[in-house]
Symmetry: C2
Subunit: 233 residues, 2 copies
């Protein structure tokens, strides 16, 4: 097994779809798709090997809003075998359409999460009998898992690195205090913890809000978590 190092390839859009195509080849898949969501930047990146016709239909019909593979995978740790969703009405809605475009309704979606709330979904489909699918599943799932990590890691780090320049930086004290706030501590608590006045805590909090262009502390905490300056407590 060989993992192509994505970071050595030239252009992003092309190299990601090419990477997906390689995954298909290696495991005899019909199609592969990746969707990466970065709540910090509010961006969604998608790369697919599907035909343009299906992509357009998918977009136009707003199928992403009801696609159960996405909803399920967003809330799951483990890979989601689409067969588990077969009885969902939304599934039938989406895959009846998919079938018209010649796409198989057999596949798996692997969720990958980064430390900053970012989520990547790698899906792969293959048209074969259920027995065959089941038999192959345990063989390729580990590799797909590694592929999903690889592509997601590359997408977000290239995205966040560029985005990092536009994001504010908190002083260590500010980040420290905001982290305690995110952990549910009151200003008085934090003052006691850090052995400073709760007034001082508030000033740091205020400058944190200003740096994050937040109107309120909850908004500041939300942004700081989304950006990755602090972690949810």
């Amino acid at each position: 097994m060989e993992i192509v190092d994505l970071s050595t390839l030239p252009d992003s859009e092309v190299r990601y779809t090419e990477f997906l195509r390689q995954i298909c080849e290696k495991h005899d898949m019909d199609h592969a798709a990746y969707a990466g969501m970065n709540p910090a930047a509010g961006t969604v990146a998608g790369f697919v090997t599907y035909d343009d016709a299906w992509n357009e239909h998918y977009q136009k019909q707003g199928l992403i809003m009801i696609d159960p593979t996405i909803h399920m995978a967003r809330r799951s740790i483990a890979p989601v075998d689409w067969s588990r969703l077969e009885r969902s009405p939304d599934f039938q809605r989406v895959f009846r359409d998919a079938h018209d475009f010649g796409l198989p309704s057999q596949g798996v979606t692997i969720p990958i999460r980064g430390p900053y709330g970012d989520i990547g979904l790698l899906s792969a489909t293959r048209n074969c009998s259920k027995e065959e699918w089941r038999k192959l599943y345990t063989n390729f799932i580990g590799d797909l898992q590694a592929m999903a990590v690889h592509i997601h890691d590359n997408v977000v780090s290239s995205d966040q690195l560029t985005g990092a320049l536009y994001h504010p930086t908190l002083s260590s004290r500010e980040a420290e205090i905001l982290q305690w706030v995110a952990a549910g501590k009151s200003q008085q608590d934090i003052g006691d913890i850090l052995s400073i006045s709760h007034r001082t805590v508030e000033v740091h909090l205020r400058s944190s809000r200003e740096k994050l262009s937040a109107l309120t502390t909850p908004q500041a905490v939300g942004r700081a978590i989304a950006i990755g300056l602090i972690t949810p407590g």
Copy 2:
């Protein structure tokens, strides 16, 4: 390859360490360890195949606080090969001790994140040459990835406190209001927007906090964003 279904085995503590032992056997590893952290519940679950002597030393010396493999993996998407940390002073501190207990300083830690801020770390160590390690790496990393997902998924869903937190659903009104809070609106603002009393807004906010097991609104917003119930505003 065969994945032993953890949920079918009897007792938790035993079955997890047994699972780790099987991982070791399959991939010729010396030791394996899993640590699962649930920041929301504040719980940490750990299972290891190390000797008790090392465990005790590790605990007693508070090595978990400085262990760079943990710190690094907590912030990473991809597996962390320990060789990347060799020059860290903390690494040398921890693994000088480890060496005294006969543990190899070659290993990898795989981070797995769930949708609710929970993190699982699966580590595996093996005493061999660097060349051999490198050569084997691409072979077992995919499988280890799948194993990490499997064990973390099981631990998290069997943890009762987590289980409760794991499916927090906000009512539409609660999510709507929390979303406005994350957008920096005050309770009065939100009341005006939704044409209800700001008192009512506060009640929904309170039940949101309770459902998210949050002590404060900022903490609730942070968690809701981390979970994906709302988006940063």
